[in-house]
């Protein structure tokens, strides 16, 4: 996938906007709906300028009513359209769960394939943005648990473009999680063409022989920093696996890496109990057990509601590169 002709660096939010625009131009069946996505361009400006180019008919400002946003997207999806719905912040996806997890996820199965729902739900999530309890949440657990959904959480502009394109073109409902902190923090280049990245495939973002570190989203970047830190300070080489897709989880890539390193850890921003990190640990404990030389280690948020508005407490809540590095060191020493 990595190739010679690259477009110049852009931020993650730019890569999302660019991909949405290109897909909208390509396929007239795609339309977007959500709160403030019209003239406002969305609160993160993912659709800035879109209403001028595509008109109000394809860029629909909705009432403040998330359940109907997803329910209407679902109805349109089973009737020939390819909606891309925006939930303004992940914290506000809860009113829509019934339509998303209860309904959309089961349409294909429950109709024995008679209907299907090619819809993408974009969900800006995550913390480190002074968002307090209701603008910081990681909401991936329920989606990652639900058969019938695909769940994507890219960490780089390259992956965001390739995977958002895959999501929009997929004929199944896909939850596309965009980490808010990465929007402007993370820059990167990408192929200069309409490429896709495969849903369901993890990506080794850094090779290493001592420790396997599995992560996704913002934590990929903190983990890569931590990996550099321990490489320089201790000569520990960490293999960093970026899940990219949270449903289905790519057990194969994880197990391949663990079979080389014998040591595994998971880093996630979300709280730990019954989470994506639990599943990765469980996969390793059941399918990679005989490769393991040490306990599987998890670095997660503490078991408190995410996350305090107070800046020092917010910083304490988030796994930091330093905390991750300390964990890598401890694991390498076992």
């Amino acid at each position: 996938m990595r190739e010679a002709t690259l477009v110049p660096e852009m931020t993650l939010i730019e890569s999302v906007r660019e991909t949405l625009r290109m897909e909208m131009r390509r396929d007239p069946d795609i339309f977007m709906l959500g709160e403030d996505i019209g003239p406002r361009g969305g609160v993160f400006l993912a659709s800035e300028g879109f209403v001028d180019e595509f008109g109000e008919g394809r860029i629909m400002n909705t009432p403040l009513a998330e359940s109907s946003i997803i329910g209407i997207a679902l109805g349109a999806a089973v009737n020939g359209m390819r909606p891309v719905a925006e939930i303004q912040f992940a914290d506000f996806v809860w009113p829509a769960i019934n339509q998303l997890v209860g309904e959309a996820a089961r349409v294909r199965y429950g109709t024995n394939g008679g209907k299907f729902a090619p819809m993408t739900v974009r969900v800006p999530y995550g913390g480190g943005v002074r968002g307090g309890l209701y603008h910081s949440q990681s909401i991936e657990v329920l989606f990652a648990h639900t058969p019938g959904l695909q769940v994507i959480a890219p960490a780089t502009p390259w992956d965001a473009r390739g995977l958002l394109r895959s999501a929009i073109r997929s004929n199944d409902p896909t939850v596309f999680l965009e980490h808010k902190r990465t929007y402007r923090l993370v820059r990167g280049e990408a192929p200069d063409r309409e490429y896709t990245e495969p849903i369901g495939k993890a990506d080794v973002k850094r090779a290493g022989s001592d420790v396997t570190l599995v992560t996704y989203g913002l934590m990929l970047h903190y983990s890569l920093q931590a990996a550099e830190m321990v490489s320089q300070s201790d000569g520990i080489e960490t293999e960093v696996v970026d899940l990219r897709t949270l449903r289905p989880i790519d057990g194969e890539t994880i197990l391949d890496s663990v079979s080389q390193t014998g040591r595994a850890m998971i880093v996630q921003e979300d709280t730990g109990a019954v989470s994506v990190s639990s599943e990765v640990a469980a996969i390793i404990a059941s399918e990679g057990f005989f490769d393991l030389d040490a306990p599987v280690n998890r670095v997660t948020a503490p078991e408190i509601p995410p996350m305090p508005f107070s800046p020092l407490q917010e910083a304490e809540y988030m796994p930091s590169p330093e905390k991750i590095a300390a964990s890598i060191r401890r694991l390498a020493e076992v």
Binding site: I72, L74, G75, E103, N112, G114, K115, N171, I199
Partner: protein
């Protein structure tokens, strides 16, 4: 000028709303007869331990027939819930196809017996019901209709729902959006005054669901749902409005649920004896029969013939459905996603 009974009948005949011929009415009555016999049979199959559960359409037949008559099955779309047995028959689903749903047999058309009866998607009519979660179909119906509007198609979407569903937040959100965007949808409420055991006065502080239409800038009308002609007329107006770009409507059909909520229910726990006796007079079958006879559309011989035909149809269908095996077990692993690669259905 004095009127003889036959004068009245002729006058009534002449006043049939446009599109509703005597022949169509007679056909509708025939389907009602079929629905009733089938409905009774399903209840029996449940009591025999063969059908796990059933919700009956008894009491709702005229409402559903009047509604379907006012639509065009070749282009319209129907989001149903579990009580639209009669509507499904009116839309051409065979008794065997219906019974295979209740008996969960191989080849069941809606969901391959993955779902409860009346859930899934129809292979011939654009009729579906994704789930049993009350009210969810309302925003979905708005989305379906929105897609038609976007694509410039002249289809109309009928969203069936009950009085119970009217309390859900989804109902409010759906009607509000439909009102804003004038989508071609008809919200079709079969108000039988009960959500399982909860009577209307414990569900809402107002008498009429249709009156809420004004909150959404759409027309709302309340109709006697035991009157197939009145139902037809109201739904037809709403369908025509939607088809011609006039947007959404809310039609409330007042009916009685003649039986308990489902085969699992016992309505004597919460309905008085008098109430249960009273609602028998709201049975749309004798009401329609009498109306058709008064109008000279139906005679006794035809009536007998219909009922005999219905019994034969249902007998045959029962035999056929019961002779069909359950679906192969392995089928259950299919069609979670378009491509199940990547471990999505790994056990």
């Amino acid at each position: 000028m004095s009127e003889s009974p036959s004068d009245i009948a002729v006058e009534a005949e002449l006043s049939l709303p446009s599109g509703l011929t005597r022949e169509r009415l007679l056909g509708a009555y025939k389907t009602m007869c079929l629905s009733r016999v089938l409905d009774v049979r399903i209840w029996t199959l449940n009591r025999q331990g063969k059908a796990a559960i059933a919700a009956s359409a008894q009491g709702h037949e005229a409402a559903q027939l009047g509604t379907v008559l006012a639509t065009d099955p070749t282009r319209d779309r129907y989001l149903i819930y579990y009580r639209q047995l009669t509507a499904m028959l009116a839309l051409g689903t065979t008794p065997t196809e219906m019974l295979m749903q209740f008996l969960a047999r191989d080849g069941e058309i809606l969901s391959a017996a993955r779902q409860f009866p009346l859930h899934g998607a129809h292979p011939r009519v654009d009729l579906f019901s994704f789930s049993n979660v009350v009210g969810t179909q309302l925003p979905q119906a708005v989305g379906v209709a929105l897609a038609d509007k976007m694509k410039g198609r002249d289809a109309v979407t009928i969203s069936f729902f009950g009085d119970g569903a009217a309390s859900q937040g989804d109902c409010h959100e759906a009607m509000n959006f439909a009102g804003i965007h004038k989508v071609p949808v008809v919200f079709l409420c079969e108000n039988n005054r009960y959500a399982i055991s909860v009577p209307l006065e414990q569900q809402m502080p107002v008498d009429s669901i249709a009156s809420r239409a004004s909150s959404y800038g759409i027309p709302g009308i309340e109709v006697d749902g035991t009157d197939v002609v009145a139902t037809y007329e109201a739904v037809k107006e709403a369908v025509d409005r939607a088809r011609s770009g006039g947007g959404a409507s809310l039609v409330e059909l007042r009916v009685e649920r003649l039986l308990p909520h489902t085969t699992d229910d016992d309505h004597t726990r919460y309905r008085s004896k008098e109430d249960i006796e009273r609602i028998a007079s709201m049975d749309p079958l004798p009401i329609t029969e009498a109306m058709l006879k008064r109008q000279g559309i139906l005679d006794q011989a035809t009536d007998d013939e219909f009922k005999e035909w219905a019994r034969r149809e249902v007998d045959d269908a029962t035999d056929e459905a019961e002779a069909t095996p359950f679906p192969p077990v392995g089928d259950m692993y299919e069609k979670v996603l378009e491509s199940d690669a990547g471990g999505n259905s790994r056990a």
